[in-house]
């Protein structure tokens, strides 16, 4: 079964510093990986995805993620953190249904705090 793990419950970073939110995955076959962000009292918003191709994927709000097959990781990164980046971040992987659709399997989430 497909799964993702986010080893950190919380990440703290100072504004202007680079940030990394970690994710590791376990899949059979080719991984379809995603990052979503959730702001307080809101639904999840898509940030970026990796399907195939370049290992560095660029997404919304200046975020990027690095796919590393040998380490089975898909870490989220941003060169310079903003206070407004403070939110809950979810790594996710696509899993397929026998009915032909698919579902998204989410990690437990990592809360990012960016301090001014």
């Amino acid at each position: 079964a497909q799964s993702v793990a986010q080893p950190e419950d919380q990440v703290n970073v100072a504004e202007g510093n680079p940030l990394t939110v970690k994710c590791t995955y376990s899949v059979s076959g080719n991984p379809y990986l995603f990052w979503y962000v959730q702001y307080p009292n809101r639904g999840l918003q898509f940030l970026l995805k990796y399907i195939t191709g370049d290992n560095l994927v660029k997404g919304s709000y200046g975020f990027e993620a690095e796919f590393n097959k040998s380490q089975t990781s898909f870490h989220l990164k941003k060169p310079s953190a903003l206070v407004s980046d403070s939110a809950l971040y979810f790594c996710a992987v696509r899993d397929e249904f026998y009915t032909g659709g698919f579902k998204t399997i989410f990690g437990a989430g990592t809360r990012l705090f960016v301090k001014a």
Partner: protein, 113 residues
């Protein structure tokens, strides 16, 4: 939020009562999903729909049922609510298998006393 609304947004109910949550979308997306969000668990799939009247169970479906009589509406019913069903419930949609990206509603916070 890609035209997805959920109602109610907040609900407090008592153990043993039936509860129905509604998800409405205006995007004509084929696939719809119900998730629950609990601390330390991320989002877990309850049920999903792959078309009108076509539904199937997710990983935490016990105690829940769903119905989809038209493309735009996906209902989640708790037949007899329990305190363990206190959670935040999110609806999501997916246009097609080729798009990959799900869109989420704003969520419903349900408290079962």
């Amino acid at each position: 939020d890609a035209g997805i609304t959920q109602s109610p947004r907040h609900k407090v109910t008592e153990t043993g009562t039936p509860v129905t949550l509604r998800c409405h979308q205006t995007e004509n997306h084929r696939y719809m999903y119900w998730y629950r969000q609990d601390p330390g668990h991320g989002l877990r799939l309850i049920h999903y729909s792959y078309g009108v009247k076509d539904t199937d169970k997710g990983e935490v479906s016990d105690g829940y049922s769903v119905s989809r009589s038209k493309t735009e509406d996906f209902l989640l019913t708790l037949e007899s609510a329990t305190s363990s069903q206190t959670s935040v419930y999110f609806c999501a949609t997916l246009a097609s298998l080729s798009t990959d990206t799900q869109y989420f509603g704003p969520g419903t916070r349900l408290t079962v006393l």
